[in-house]
Subunit: 244 residues, 2 copies
């Protein structure tokens, strides 16, 4: 039995997220269907993590197990020939048979793009949140610095149960700018559902002057989901890479 | 009577080009329909030039005449509120009443993007031609330099009549590279229908070693449309700007 690791790029616009759901088109579902056609049997493709509907990936990773005699390069070429043009396998490689895309992941990098200009853009509409009002990036950087480290992110979660473990470690985070595009990059060992989008939504409140950077620490400590900003829309978010 | 000049950005993917055609959705048609709703009467929007189906624009320009009492800024905001998200007015300004977007244009800049990497991309699929085979960019630059200047571009045209004036002046041209993206930029006083795409198609033949740069001069001189390369597909082409 072989284990093959995939690195997958996708434009999430038309998909109901990564995870298979009955009656809905998902990235995992489409990749599994194409792989099954190549291998001649059903196959489960385990992703490093789920991405929500509309979220994109430059470097989602996944693994599957098979007994195929084809090289990983041949399987990758066959997959890319079958996959729709908004999903691409960027790499396929044989890894240790026990490799697990989710459990072995050491760090994930997410990036959220903001398009900061007075008029919307015909080209970034699907890949960046349009923000026509000025943002105070310095204050946003101050706020972002406060989430780096190990914290209880309950306030930034969608957790339904207070006893759920919502402690996570953010290893680094920064805000870059190139022209009108602002990129908020967050790296961490693990993330709660919608956590990055709620962090971005909260940073936007800070950038617009509706919150101050200091409040981030208070929001973390309060363990109150009503205090953090709203969840930023999915289309600005990219899963950039997963490190093992 | 006022004349208002528009600078328009559009993702051409879903449109049958700029020009109004019965029964088809076109950029000109959509802009005219939205403007008519704002002004309360039909209006003709004259573009600097037509773009073909699937071709994009960062800076198409156009003009229309009206007697509205609204400022150009108000008209622009109203237009952007009505237009679909793949068409954006980037600028609207009052110009001299005799201004004509087509006849007064001094120079246009077109850019064609190639994505040069082994695997296709989920994000550039609509905005760059995917070229998985290596290209000799130096030879392509040599070839491109030969079209700069005033030449009879009959061989690179779709002209049906040999007596048509197919002499045009290319003022400058270059090939840039950033990461896996190669940008072929061509500036000229005027272009024949599909001329940029046939130039790019011919450059690709040179880049792949199927033609040598010297042949460009021979193709120009031969006035034979069969000698130039095929027309490159529309989705890599952008009308970048029009200078007046």
């Amino acid at each position: 039995m072989r284990t093959i690791k995939l690195t997958i790029e996708y434009d999430g616009t038309l998909y109901h997220g990564w995870q298979v759901q009955p009656g809905l088109v998902t990235i995992q579902g489409v990749v599994q269907d194409c792989l099954a056609r190549i291998l001649g049997h059903p196959v489960y493709v385990q992703g490093a993590g789920r991405t929500d509907a509309g979220v994109h990936a430059i470097g989602q990773t996944a693994h599957f197990r098979c007994e195929s005699k084809h090289s990983s390069a041949v399987i990758m070429r066959a997959l890319n020939a079958l996959l729709p043009d908004d999903i691409v396998i960027r790499q396929a490689e044989d890894v240790h048979p026990s490799f697990h895309a989710q459990f072995d992941a050491k760090e994930k990098e997410y990036r959220y793009y903001l398009l900061c200009q007075p008029e919307r853009s015909a080209f970034f509409r699907r890949y960046a949140l349009f923000v026509p009002t000025p943002l105070d990036l310095d204050q946003m950087r101050n706020a972002l610095a406060r989430i780096v480290g190990t914290h209880d992110f309950f306030s930034f979660s969608t957790a339904g149960d207070e006893r759920e473990n919502t402690v996570r470690t953010i290893t680094s985070a920064d805000i870059g700018q190139e022209g009108h595009l602002v990129a908020i990059t967050v790296r961490g060992e693990g993330f709660l559902h919608k956590m990055v989008r709620r962090i971005v939504g909260t940073l936007l409140e800070v950038g617009r002057g509706r919150m101050v950077a200091d409040q981030i620490t208070q929001i973390l400590q309060a363990r109150d989901k009503r205090l953090a900003g709203p969840s930023a829309p999915p289309h600005g978010l990219f899963l950039m890479s997963v490190r093992y």
